[in-house]
């Protein structure tokens, strides 16, 4: 969603990142029951998820506050570097 907004719609990197995270809320809520109920047994380790969440909600708050303090160009470079690494991973180890 982030690259499509930036490349095709000309949305600023800051707005694209934030829009994407808000859009992920309904998508993840819709997808979660598949892993909880549609498998033979739940594919969720709730104990581990709880400890991940303790860290991740603090991180998400800090990351969201940080976004406004970074210029658009540096933000684009960070997003580009992350996508490049993830893209090569998928190409080499699909």
């Amino acid at each position: 969603m982030i690259p499509l907004q930036v490349m095709w719609l000309g949305v600023s990197q800051r707005h694209a990142n934030a829009n994407s995270l808000v859009a992920i809320i309904p998508i993840s809520i819709a997808a979660l029951p598949i892993y909880l109920f549609l498998h033979a047994r739940p594919q969720v380790d709730l104990h581990f998820a709880l400890f991940l969440i303790i860290g991740s909600v603090v991180g998400a708050y800090a990351g969201a506050r940080l976004l406004n303090r970074v210029p658009d160009r540096e933000l684009k470079l960070a997003v580009g570097a992350l996508m490049l690494a993830a893209g090569f991973k998928e190409l080499v180890f699909p």
Partner: protein, 141 residues
């Protein structure tokens, strides 16, 4: 609280920071952390990641809204479209082998990284090569 739990909190902190800053759900970091670092099987890692993404995205998303970073109407359309897209994607994933989908996705990511990252780099070097005109030198014509 075991060492494993403490490492999970630290991993969550890292993935959450990435999520809030870059705008990804966090699965990009959560899943490899669990499969490589904690030897989770892939489906369990994906399900556990998704369970962690929901509260992470809610906290990050609300913070972004309060910071004025969100174009709310666009985000709502994307969220609605994303739900439909996720269902279609799941149906497509049944028909197409996983490694083929992964390679298409990888190629799209590399292309996007090039367009966004290279564009940002070029804008900076272009500005250095062609600086804005300054005042004329003293004593000049």
């Amino acid at each position: 609280m075991s060492w494993s739990d403490a490492l999970a909190v630290l991993s969550g902190l890292f993935a959450g920071l990435l999520s809030g800053f870059i705008g990804i759900g966090g699965g990009l970091a959560f899943v490899p952390i669990m499969t490589i670092g904690f030897r989770f099987p892939q489906p369990l890692a994906q399900g556990t990641s998704l369970a962690a993404i929901v509260p992470t995205a809610i906290v990050g998303g609300i913070t972004h809204i309060r910071e004025g970073n969100v174009l709310l109407e666009a985000a709502m359309w994307m969220g609605g479209g994303g739900v439909v897209g996720a269902i279609l994607g799941a149906l497509l994933a049944i028909q197409v082998p996983g490694h083929v989908l992964a390679r298409f996705w990888g190629a799209f990511l590399v292309f996007s990284a090039w367009r966004i990252g290279w564009g940002a780099l070029r804008s900076a070097t272009g500005a250095a090569r062609h600086p804005l005109p300054g005042p004329p030198p003293e004593g000049g014509a």
